[in-house]
Amino acid sequence: MTRMTKFGAGLLAGAAMWMAAGVASAQTQGGTLVIAWPAIQEPASLDGHIDPYQSTWMFNSLVADPLVILAPDGTYKPALATSWTSTPDGREWVFKLRSGVKFQDGTAFDAAAVKYNFDRVLDPKTASAQMRSDVGPIKSVEVVDALTVKLVYDTPWVTLLDGVRRMPIWSPTAAEKHGLANFGRNLVGAGPFLFAEWVQNDRIVFKRWADYGGWNSIQTHQGPAYLDQVTIRFIGEAAVLGSVVKTGNAQVTFGLPARFVDEYKGKPNFQFVAKDQSGTGLQHVMNIRIPPLSDIRVRRAILHAADMKAANELLYDGVYAPSEGPLNNNHPCFWEGNPKVYPNDLNKARALLEEAGWKAPAAGQGQIRVARGVAGVADGTPLKVRYATLHHKELGEALQSQLRRVGIDLVVEQVPGPVQLDRVRRRDFDLMFERQRSPDPLILDQIWNSKWDQPGGWAWTGFKNDTLDATVDKLRSIPDPKARCEVAKEAQKIIMENALMLPTLSDPVFFAMTPKVKGLQVGAEGNWFFLNNAWLER
């Protein structure tokens, strides 16, 4: 940077700070922010060390600051830890902690408290359903000094920050006092809001903590948060969820159903935010063990015939996000080559099917192709592909009409979670919905490494390839984010070339808000937001 541009940058930064200060003077303290929330996402326990749900961790973040946060720009920023380092092999992590922090019950925040929290997650008695896997196989948690903690692993654990950013740091005193069974109703942390009450199937209430020190780097002002109270209202009926902001029963709807987007998007009386979540998108993996998808030509034909852009326009007025590969387009490690591998081309699809022995039916016999000399399939069998999904059935139906044009009969079925897992266990499916959500590319290892092709594992396709296995394996040991993405892109290339999955779309989280809500910051992932700077205009 030249001296002059530095000077210019300094001026700009100064102006930005001045503007921020100007905005700050308008911010008012007080008021209750009511957030309507889909009832289906209500947690079973509010203790994020135990419960495996995203909404649990989100609610925890209001009460308890974590060590680090994933900032809206997608980078990790300090919260209760001021800095952190890991050894190049990813076997040791050291966190430097913020000084002068107290929990809401007056307990001092220090290295011993952090150790207590990690030990609690790891304790088999806690039976942590997800957090324990996220923080990995920790060998020991060491208190180096009052404000330094070291985590030691036997094997590299490079994805620690993605777990830690969600892990609430609870007050050890309160956790001990209430025990595992009752702490979920008595949360105490060092976050901007105090936990007030949880009426199950109805609401959760948080109150402003007057002694909060603004320890989270997301917060732009000193001291406590602006809002007096935050009420989460669980709404069971989609029509109500879609209307409460309009009728003034809530100021924010989190997870607005897609069919209500039109009523808020671009309307002057409302604020509307759509934010995608990094992950696999609404992906369908292909079972390559059995015909017809055991033939790569059939798999490729499906990918050439599917037109998700058209489906997005048709079904969702284009508000869904594109997902064109094994990682969705929002993912920091999305491979740009994904959309080019299988351009929409019906003739190509027909030719591939023809070549694979799936011949066009005789005149007057409908549109669906039939087998002529396909290995393992009786001649005359129609080309049927089963498509099972947990939700978004309409997407399958749009695809059904697209595939019919090339002679494939897509049988669309919506199944509940237990049925999905049961079929996967029996390996009895063709196209199966499999979605994972994480900004870290490690999910590619979980879905595509053939060593996870086992009961309870997530590698469902039956594809075994040493190069792919070795590639995704690296994601467990390379700590550098850039290098990880390079590896992830290589893996995506192999997956796409072998046509192992059908990317469809990605469903963003939609937020509807009244214009009076200010400073609510949506995270890098659509399922996350920060209220440290939020306030209500009077």
Binding site: A39, A44, P52, A129, E237, T247
Partner: protein
């Protein structure tokens, strides 16, 4: 009447004893059904967040913790033995005693059902009486058409309609929640109106039948006022079958409030059991079903006793 009182006691005891095999059968059916459904609750629990690779060791560990690695028969016997002493076990998902979870929500369901019942009686009985007294008139046709609409209206649709009108348009009542009496108005009106339709029809037919009886004619003949005949002799006798119906409706409301609870986002046992089924939370589903069955049977028992008390022919088993 000692003989009569003894026969009444014998009748009640007999009815209570009959509950035991019914509850056992229900418990067994729900146990078998829950275990026949596909899916492993441990796997589901770990996959609940749609994320994270599960190792087989972790799965085995969780199964052990949840007591799912025992043979089915052992699980069944354990479940029966505990249920017999009122211990419904602990929810897998909530990790709290099932009885505590039910107790937490039953108040809300009970309040909803009681208010719904009050509305259904307050609306249904007068409607039925008007129709009976003005039999085959325009008023009769109108009230009966109204009761048809009420009885055949889907709860779901009526609930949404009420929300649209009274919450969104008029802003009188909240569309969701369970904060105070205001949030109880729309849901209890919803279930109340549906039940009112059925009650009105029964009151009408029962009243018409009673009004044709000899003693009514005698009443009129001996110069009693029309009001006395109607209220003291007509309604009292016409209400006997209606009470059975009201009891059944009440039981149904307690056990089947799930749709209303979902539409109005109210906490309650109905929603608890539906969520538990989705999560394959065996102990919670079993506990809730047994509890709801017990409540339903208990309400029926009370109705039967009231019926037997009102109509002595019942308790002699004739």
């Amino acid at each position: 009447m000692p003989a009569s009182s003894a026969s009444m006691t014998r009748y009640i005891l007999g009815r209570i004893l009959q509950l035991v095999p019914v509850l056992w059968l229900i418990s067994t059916i729900i146990f078998v059904v829950m275990h026949m459904l596909p899916g492993d609750p441990a796997e589901l629990m770990l996959a609940g967040a749609e994320g994270g690779a599960i190792t087989p060791e972790r799965l085995a560990e969780l199964k052990r913790e949840m007591g799912l690695d025992d043979p089915l028969l052992v699980q069944y016997m354990r479940f029966l033995a505990n249920a017999a002493i009122g211990d419904l076990g602990s929810s897998v998902r909530f990790r709290l005693p099932v009885s505590e979870l039910i107790a937490d929500r039953f108040g809300s369901t009970l309040a909803l059902s009681l208010c719904g019942l009050a509305i259904s009686v307050a609306v249904g009985v007068p409607l039925g009486m008007i129709a009976a007294m003005r039999q085959n008139s325009a008023a009769d046709a109108f009230t009966m058409a109204l009761s048809y609409v009420g009885a055949s209206m889907p709860v779901y649709w009526l609930g949404l309609l009420l929300i649209l009108f009274f919450s969104f348009n008029l802003g009188w009542f909240p569309p969701a929640g369970a904060d105070d009496w205001r949030s109880l108005v729309l849901p209890s009106t919803t279930i109340g109106l549906v039940a009112a339709g059925l009650i009105a029809r029964l009151v009408r037919s029962s009243m018409i039948e009673v009004l044709r009886e000899d003693y009514i004619r005698t009443g009129h003949a001996k110069g009693l006022s029309a009001a006395t005949v109607l209220w003291r002799h007509g309604l009292k006798n016409a209400m006997i079958p209606v009470i059975t119906m009201i009891g059944l409706q009440f039981g149904g409301m307690l056990a089947g409030a799930v749709v209303t609870e979902t539409v109005f986002s109210r906490p309650g046992v109905g929603r608890l059991v539906v969520n538990a089924i989705l999560a394959k939370d065996y102990p919670l589903v079993q506990g809730c079903v047994i509890f709801l069955a017990f409540v339903y049977l208990a309400v029926n028992l009370v109705v039967d006793i009231a019926y037997a008390w009102l109509d002595p022919r019942i308790r002699y088993g004739r």
